[in-house]
């Protein structure tokens, strides 16, 4: 039985969140009415010409810098093929001379995946297949919306360094975090602003030669990515083990059926007849611009995870590592660092962010760090119990902010004044003289009894730690 090895390369198309399209001033917007953001250029009208968007170049350079690429003098090229969503029946892309090349990405586990290139190109329009089942092969007609035609993309091609589906997932996830951190993209796979295609082949473990690869498309989530890779590798292995060969082709991942299907072999379509785009001039960002981009890059996810880990002091536990990952992934690390700066224990700030705030979705991402810090200070300072603190956070998220102390008071979580606590304790002790005598003798089990009694008497408003401290001090 052969031991097989997967060889995987990922191609990620990332939509840049510029205000306008790559080569024209039409709005770059998702979800507008069809064909409202069109002009002669992105519609491919006779006589139209492209002019390059400066912000798109800035974003593309940031991506290259974040992936440790060389930013190079580059050129645009035409990729010629007929398709109704391609307004000019050629795509303006980069071929021989991409803007960014020879980079790498480090995964959380420390391994590196090479990045061959990250070049600029324009997006196509959107096709809707109508009639029959809506699947392309059974359609009667197609409708084209060119709103997306000309939206700026960066295509990031990895080296075939990935060896497992899990590693592919980690790469895609880390890359998404990086793309979001550069500000170039919102990284939303489900909205199509980040699209992942996987090139999958297999070979006997320990051999050097590459097997025939297939390109898998239509992966709309990280979960699909993993499932599709595993399916495809198994499919290829089965073919090879039965003496058959793998045909080089593009395959479509069918999420509901859990399989890849052949799209027609692209042999004929492969002759894209690339040549330098005569309507554009070369793009060679100078050293000053490159330096500005690199200097302005800001912290990447890996750096931010390291900051949180360092703040924890000592190596994070597995649970803490997961929390760190989640917090950085969701962009909540500022909450944690702000709270920590305010004296809140890091582990607490981390846990509440990874759980309660994360559960708040959009509201969580919008939560003001100072508000968060103040809320947690109430907990760590003893005014609120853990349960109360979580409730206050929930309310703050629901309301989109607020003053934590005021919210706590409103919810009846007012901290008890210390003299009130003293009075309550007097009453409780007076009500249970026998238990008190035993407690004073040293029966620590009664700590819980008295704490509970105080809680009951104060309707839960007393602070457990304060009660315990008071009890001990009275005992002497």
């Amino acid at each position: 039985m052969t031991d097989w090895e997967m060889v995987i390369g990922l191609e990620v198309h990332c939509e840049l969140q510029t205000a306008t399209k790559l080569f024209c001033g039409c709005r770059n917007a998702f979800g507008d009415e069809p064909n409202v953001n069109i002009c002669p250029t992105c519609l491919g009208l006779p006589g139209s010409l492209p002019v390059l968007n400066e912000q798109a170049v800035e974003f593309a350079m940031r991506i290259g810098a974040a992936l440790h690429c060389e930013i190079r003098p580059s050129e645009f090229a035409r990729k010629n093929y007929f398709y109704p969503d391609q307004a000019k029946d050629y795509q303006i892309s980069q071929y021989d001379l991409p803007l960014n090349a020879d980079g790498w990405l480090e995964l959380p586990d420390g391994s590196r995946v090479g990045v061959t290139r990250a070049h600029m190109e324009e997006d196509t329009g959107k096709l809707t297949h109508i009639g029959a089942s809506g699947r392309i092969n059974a359609a009667l007609a197609a409708l084209v919306d060119y709103n997306r035609s000309g939206v700026p993309l960066v295509e990031i091609v990895s080296e075939p360094d990935i060896r497992t589906a899990a590693q592919a997932r980690a790469y895609a996830s880390e890359l998404r975090g990086i793309l979001v951190a550069t500000g170039a993209s919102d990284g939303r796979m489900e909205e199509g602003s980040m699209r992942v295609d996987a090139n999958v082949s297999v070979r006997p473990a320990g051999t050097e030669a590459f097997g025939t690869r297939c390109e898998i498309k239509n992966l709309n989530s990280l979960r699909s990515l993993v499932r599709a890779i595993e399916y495809e590798a198994a499919r290829q292995i089965a073919l090879l083990e039965s003496g058959d060969t793998v045909t080089q082709e593009t395959r479509h991942w069918d999420e509901s059926a859990g399989r890849t299907d052949s799209m027609r072999s692209k042999e004929e379509a492969n002759d894209y007849r690339y040549f330098p785009e005569p309507d554009l001039v070369p793009l060679a960002p100078d050293a000053a611009w490159q330096e500005k981009v690199r200097a302005g890059l800001g912290a990447m996810p890996a750096d931010r995870r390291a900051v949180l880990a360092a703040a924890l002091g000592g190596a994070p536990t597995e649970a803490e590592a997961d929390q760190i990952h989640a917090v950085v992934d969701l962009g909540l690390d500022t909450l944690v660092t702000t709270a920590a700066d305010g004296g809140v224990p890091v582990a607490l700030a981390l846990a509440r962010a990874a759980n309660e705030v994360a559960a708040g979705g959009q509201a969580g991402r919008a939560l003001d760090p100072e508000t968060y810090a103040a809320a947690l200070a109430l907990e760590s300072g003893g005014q609120l119990s853990a349960t109360q603190s979580k409730a206050v956070l929930g309310a703050l998220l629901e309301r989109g902010g607020g003053d934590p102390a005021a919210v706590a008071k409103e919810m009846g979580f007012e901290a008890l004044a210390s003299d009130t606590l003293g009075a309550v304790l007097d009453e409780v002790i007076a009500a249970h003289p026998d238990e008190w005598a035993r407690f004073v003798e040293g029966d620590d089990k009664l700590m819980g009894f008295f704490t509970g009694a105080v809680m009951k008497a104060t309707s839960g408003k007393a602070n457990g730690k304060e009660v315990a401290a008071e009890l001990r001090s009275r005992r002497g």
């Binding site: 002669p40 519609l43 491919g44 009208l45 006779p46 006589g47 139209s48 010409l49 492209p50 002019v51 390059l52 035409r78 010629n80 007929f82 109704p84 307004a87 000019k88 029946d89 050629y90 197609a142 084209v144 492969n270 002759d271 007849r273 040549f275 005569p278 309507d279 554009l280 001039v281």
Partner: protein, 473 residues
């Protein structure tokens, strides 16, 4: 004698003549006379009258109506005119009304000039005789049994016939200069990037340039000044605004070093060669220093051009697929629809060049053909640079013969392509060049003499041409 643009604009600006009058007269002349030439594919009478009225209103209100106030212009039908039919001489765009104006059309309007109508052309600018138009050939106004040249034959004919003092064409391999020569008018191709290509339906993007037709050099200079300038909508548009060339057009050629280029004369018919030499004499008589020069690299231009231009065209014309605009011939699936549409919509010459271009770019042939042709381009550019280190301008023929018979070369593409041998080098290099009429051939038909100048030297180009015009028989 039709009035020049300079004199007409002066009259309109001074209120001596109404623009409306001028336009009505032009429309009437076209109506009466274009039946035999077929220079125009369509007229824009409503727009023209409205534009004329606006000019007259400006003059009456004391506002500047622009340097070309009231002057009618014929626009080659590959220039997008919003709301007015733009066909590029092709069935595939029959009846198409663009939703936008070309930048030059906007510039024209601002100058007070009046777009009178769209002029006939070889389909998608591919041709040297205007016989490749899907809507019938144009005849040479000097002799209607002859072609007017191409691909801007309609614009050249409109000016030659006296319908409009000015015309606008496009020149990719000689498509302004050659019809100018054959029709006996002035036709000029600017430095590549001088005039915006936004709204010019592309044939070969790295070669196409828009330029003026006129009956005099001064008129051509005036129109060039209106058309030239930076356009942020065209990435290949030169950043600077050139100085007005009309101001210095009569400054003469004292001390100008003229290279009479053998390679732009050899192989031309003897009467054409004789006219070129006489033009050289005229320049010498006006104080220029004339010498013969050889630039053999020009000889490779034809072959390189007939690889580069079709290659770019094959890509530029892919968009005519029946999806968004123009002709659609229905079929079961979209690929079949594309094919049926293009097969029905394109003429033979266009198909020929699309296939040639597709072949030159295809896998396995790219390096031998397309990339090699681009190296020849470099060779030609360097040859020009060397020539211009010793000479200020070059002189030669525009076309190898006078106008040929309608139908004489349609079945022989290679013979047709040979018409461009003198004009192609400056398309490859991007340098400016023009054709100015100078006498006639043995058959009495016009001969055009070509002047070539270094990049950005349009003012010098017009100065030299002016002296030639002054010395013309």
């Amino acid at each position: 004698m039709t009035p020049t643009a300079v004199s007409l604009a002066a009259e309109v600006r001074a209120g001596q003549r109404s623009a409306r009058d001028v336009v009505d007269e032009a429309l009437a002349t076209v109506d009466a006379g274009d039946g035999q030439y077929h220079a125009f594919l369509s007229l824009m009478p409503d727009e023209a009258r409205a534009a004329a009225d606006a000019v007259d209103a400006a003059v009456a209100a004391g506002r500047d109506p622009g340097p070309l106030a009231g002057v009618p212009v014929a626009l080659k039908d590959n220039l997008c005119t919003r709301g007015a039919v733009t066909t590029c001489g092709s069935r595939i765009l029959e009846g198409w009304r663009p939703p936008y104006d070309a930048t030059v059309v906007t510039a024209l309007r601002r100058s007070g000039a009046i777009a009178l109508g769209k002029a006939n052309m070889d389909e998608f600018a591919m041709g040297s005789s205007t016989e490749n138009s899907a809507f019938g050939a144009t005849r040479n106004p000097r002799d209607i049994t002859k072609v007017p040249g191409g691909s801007s034959g309609g614009s050249a004919a409109a000016v030659a016939a006296g319908f409009t003092p000015l015309g606008i064409g496009s020149d990719t391999g000689g498509s302004i200069r050659q019809p100018a020569a054959l029709c006996g008018v002035v036709g000029m191709k600017p430095t590549y990037g001088r005039v915006s290509r936004y709204g010019l339906v592309a044939f070969a993007s790295s070669l196409d340039q828009i330029g003026p037709f006129a009956t005099t050099v001064e008129d051509a200079a005036l129109l060039f000044d209106v058309l030239a300038g930076h356009d942020p909508l065209d990435s290949t548009s030169l950043p600077s605004q050139p100085e007005a060339t009309v101001a210095t057009v009569h400054d003469g050629v004292e001390g100008v070093r003229v290279g009479l280029c053998r390679d732009l004369v050899d192989g031309c018919s003897p009467d054409v060669v004789a006219r070129v030499r006489e033009a050289a004499d005229a320049l010498a008589g006006a104080g220029a220093k004339v010498e013969e020069v050889s630039v053999p690299e020009f000889g490779y231009g034809l072959s390189a051009y007939y690889l580069i231009a079709p290659a770019e065209a094959s890509s530029n014309l892919a968009r005519y697929d029946g999806v968004r605009y123009g002709l659609r011939v229905n079929a079961e699936d979209v690929a079949a629809m594309n094919t049926a549409t293009r097969t029905a919509g394109f003429g033979a010459e266009v198909k020929r060049r699309i296939m040639l271009g597709t072949y030159a770019l295809s896998a396995g042939y790219y390096d031998a053909y397309y990339a090699q042709a681009q190296r020849v381009r470099t060779l030609v550019m360097q040859a020009f640079d060397r020539a211009y280190s010793s000479y200020d301008v070059l002189l030669g023929a525009t076309a190898p013969t006078t106008a040929f018979d309608v139908g004489a070369k349609v079945d022989d593409p290679m013979a047709m392509y040979m018409n461009d041998v003198c004009t192609i080098p400056s398309n490859l290099s991007g340098h400016p060049a023009l054709s100015v009429p100078f006498g006639g051939g043995e058959d009495g038909l016009p001969v055009g003499v070509q002047v070539l100048a270094p990049a950005l030297q349009e003012a010098l180009l017009f100065r030299v041409a002016q002296v030639i015009e002054d010395g013309a028989p």
